[in-house]
C-alpha cells in the first residue's frame, strides 16, 4: 500500500506548511465537503468556503448554507457563485422557451471553468497561494481511488487537495456526529446533494418546496416538460 498518499491530517499539515495561512473550501453543503471543512478549519488562520449554485436563491439550499456558516465556519461567510453549469445550461437554451432566445443570444453569458472561480476567490481574499480543499474520497469509486493512488491527494498544478481522501462511511458518520452537524434535507428527499435539473431532483422539490419549484420555473420554464414526462409518461 506504499502508493497511497499520507493520511488526511498529514495532507492538511503539508498544504498548510507549503501554501500559508489561507485555504479555499469547495463547499457543496453535502456530507463529503462538510467533512473536508471540519478537517481543515482548525489548521488554517483563514478558511474561505465557497458554494456554486445551479439555480439562484433556492431557499432550501440557502437555509442550509446559512446554518453551516454558523455551525461549521464559525460565522465566516460562504461565498456564493454561479456554477459553471448554470451558464452552460442557459447558453444551451436548456428548458428555455423560444421567446427567451433573443435575450440569451444577446447576453452571451461567459462560459467558465471551476479554476476561474477559484482564481476570482483568491483575488478577492488576496490569497494567491491558497489551495482548494474538496471532499473527494478514494472510497467514492474505483476510478477515484486509482486517480488518488496515481496522482496523490495534493494536486499542485490545480492547487487542490483532498483532506479526507481516506475517509470511509464510518469516518463520515463519526465526524458529523461528534461535531453535531445537521445534514441538508437533500439527504432525506434526494438521497444526495441537489445537483441537477432531472426528475430525481425536480419531483421532490415540486412536492416539498413549492416556492423553490416556482423559482426553478422562473429560470427554466420548460422544466415542466421534465415533470410532465416523469409524472405522465413513465408511470
Amino acid at each position: 500500500m506504499s502508493n497511497l498518499p499520507p493520511p488526511g491530517p498529514e495532507i492538511v499539515k503539508q498544504v498548510r506548511k507549503e501554501t500559508g495561512r489561507s485555504t479555499l473550501i469547495g463547499f457543496s453543503g453535502g456530507k463529503d465537503s462538510i467533512c473536508a471543512a471540519l478537517a481543515v478549519r482548525d489548521e488554517f488562520e483563514e478558511t474561505v468556503p465557497f458554494f456554486l449554485y445551479l439555480v439562484p436563491g433556492l431557499e432550501f439550499v440557502d437555509e442550509h448554507l446559512d446554518r453551516c456558516e454558523k455551525t461549521i465556519f464559525r460565522g465566516a461567510k460562504i461565498e456564493r457563485f454561479p456554477h459553471p453549469g448554470l451558464y452552460m445550461w442557459l447558453n444551451s437554451g436548456i428548458f428555455q422557451p423560444p421567446d427567451r432566445w433573443p435575450v440569451i443570444k444577446a447576453a452571451r453569458l461567459p462560459e467558465f471553468e471551476y479554476s476561474d472561480v477559484h482564481s476570482l476567490i483568491r483575488q478577492k481574499y488576496n490569497c494567491p497561494k491558497a489551495f482548494n480543499a474538496t471532499g473527494v474520497m478514494a472510497a467514492d469509486s474505483p476510478v477515484r481511488r486509482i486517480s488518488i493512488v496515481q496522482h496523490g491527494a495534493i494536486l499542485k498544478g490545480r492547487k487542490e487537495y483532498f483532506p479526507v481522501w481516506d475517509y470511509k462511511k464510518r469516518d463520515i458518520m463519526a465526524a458529523l456526529q461528534s461535531n453535531k452537524i445537521t445534514l441538508p434535507v437533500d439527504y432525506r428527499i434526494f438521497g444526495r446533494s441537489f445537483d441537477g435539473l432531472d426528475a430525481r431532483f425536480i419531483l421532490p422539490i415540486k412536492k416539498h418546496f413549492p416556492a423553490d419549484y416556482s423559482k426553478i420555473l422562473e429560470w427554466f420554464p420548460l422544466i415542466e416538460a421534465e415533470v410532465f414526462r416523469a409524472e405522465r409518461m413513465m408511470q
Partner: protein, 135 residues
Amino acid sequence: MKRPTFTRPKFKSPGAKLAHEGTVKDPLKGLPDIEDPAGAAEQELSQVAKSFRERAAQEQARFGDVTACGYYIVLVFQNEDQCDAFADASGVDHKGEAFVDGRELAKVMGIELPKAETKISKPNINRDYASLTKG
C-alpha cells in the same frame, strides 16, 4: 484424476434490491469447457470483465437517456387560433395544457416511434445520512 467440481454460490439480498439486479444475464452461461484449469479461470474472468464493461456502458447509456434534455420540441404558431386549429385538426387533445404526450401525436400522424426503456430513478435514501437531517 477426477477434476473437482465447484458449487456456484447463491447470494442473499442485502435487504434492499440493487438497481438492475436480476436483469443481467449470466456471463458464464454457455462457455465452452476448457480442460486446463488455468485457461478455464482465464476464460471465466475474461467473460466477467467483459460483462462489467458492458454493464458500465449500459449504465452510462441509461443515465444519459434519463438526464439528456433533447426529448422535447416546442411547436410555435403565430397566434392562439392557429394553435387551436392544429390541435383540432390533429385530434390531439392537449386539454388546454402546454405539453402534449409526443407518443399520442405520433400515433395520430401514423409515426412509429422507437421503443424506449427510459425510467426515472427513485431516490436512493441512506437511512444513516437521512437521520442526520433536520426535522
